[in-house]
Symmetry: C2
Subunit: 205 residues, 2 copies
DNA sequence: AAGTCCTGACTGACTGTTCAGTCGAGTACG
DNA sequence: CGTACTCGACTGAACAGTCAGTCAGGACTT
């Protein structure tokens, strides 16, 4: 039998995924430009030729890998927010995700990926487009969470979109400091700043 | 005669500077890894070998170039803040610098440089160290400006350091959005958000 | 002559990509 | 059932281009 997981998952799909994951890891570790197809191949124990068999060019593989892990991050956030809770708790979860999960194994070195994504986006319009969409989803997520709070009467009406833009920017900026080990901004302080800002902006207790 | 500018500036110093500037431009345009010594040489119309004559390795040249233009940016900010003015005006100048000057010719594509710096800092501890120092200078600059305002009685006493950290992070985050052409965050809006935040945080009219 | 600045020609290592061909599993056919 | 054929997954080896770094020497200054 050809290895197929429960639901008709083809060997080829598995391979593709393996390659995308391996590539993302490598990008995070060494950077986009320094990631060699040979490295990706070695990590999943195959030949470079096979990588080319699945992806026409190196660039296609690497940009796909970036998209793949962006999407994974966003999906994780969506799931996390499925479960209901108070507005404060849910915002807190988003903050935790931003500053913690990027450190976890599953998103190994996601900080590095984030930076690489920005670098590539600055040069390749297509990547930039993808990033914009991802960021919009992220802000929409924030918007939805806050709106749910308003609907539940947890806070008075506010300009939700405006808050989402400001808060998302603040989170990005703090992420940079935390990722680069700024002695003045560790994870804990970043979280507090983020939550304080949110509570103040939204007039939460 | 060896071309010497007014103040005993050696030809060699001129060359070094030319190379650093050219390298920084190229890094901003193509990225750190994609910048070739041959490109740098061509831009200043010499041979690749001469570049190697001044810099032992490619890496040394490129990281020096990053440092060089970071320092240039910071120096420009310092000068800008030499002239006195109301607190609000001076903060406004910082904001303008952040969102405009990076676009100007002199700092051609400084956005790109910023991203590249973050990428490199994430991987090379030495670069990370440099970046931390630069960022600290930047926050100190903010601190000094605000403190001057307090001393002049323009605002009541506040936690200046805390403000500097928060505001610097916000500026970074907004920079990312602006640099990557986010449709929801153009230069104008970014500036307004930044100034609104500052005025609110500092209780300015 | 000594020293500085500079160059063209070269090389060795690396790496994306191609290609001819292997292997095993299915499948049609007699 | 067995044989021939197809096809997708996969590989080793080679190709062709790129590029950092070297080197021997030239020109110009002091």
């Amino acid at each position: 039998m050809t290895t197929t997981s429960p639901e008709g998952r083809q060997q080829s799909d598995v391979r593709r995924d393996q390659m995308l994951v391996a590539a993302a890891e490598l990008i995070a570790e060494r950077g986009f430009e320094r990631t060699r197809i040979a490295d990706v191949a070695k990590r999943i124990e195959t030949s470079p030729a096979l990588v080319m068999y699945y992806f026409a060019t190196k660039d296609e593989l690497l940009t796909a890998a970036l998209r793949h892990s962006e999407a994974a991050f966003y999906r994780a956030a969506e799931e996390l927010l499925d479960k209901p809770g108070t507005l404060d708790k849910r915002l807190s979860k988003l903050v935790d995700m931003t500053f913690d999960s990027k450190t976890k194994e599953e998103f190994a070195g996601a900080w590095g990926l984030w930076f690489e994504l920005w670098c590539q986006a600055f040069k390749h319009p297509q990547v930039a487009q993808d990033r914009r969409e991802l960021d919009q989803q992220w802000r929409d997520l924030i918007t939805r969470v806050v709106q749910a709070g308003i609907d539940a009467g947890e806070l008075s009406d506010t300009d939700v979109e405006q808050f989402a833009v400001e808060w998302a920017a603040l989170l990005d900026g703090l992420s940079v400091q935390v990722a680069l080990d700024d002695p003045r901004v560790d994870t804990k302080r970043a979280k507090r700043i983020a939550m304080d800002f949110a509570r103040r902006a939204l007039n939460l207790t």
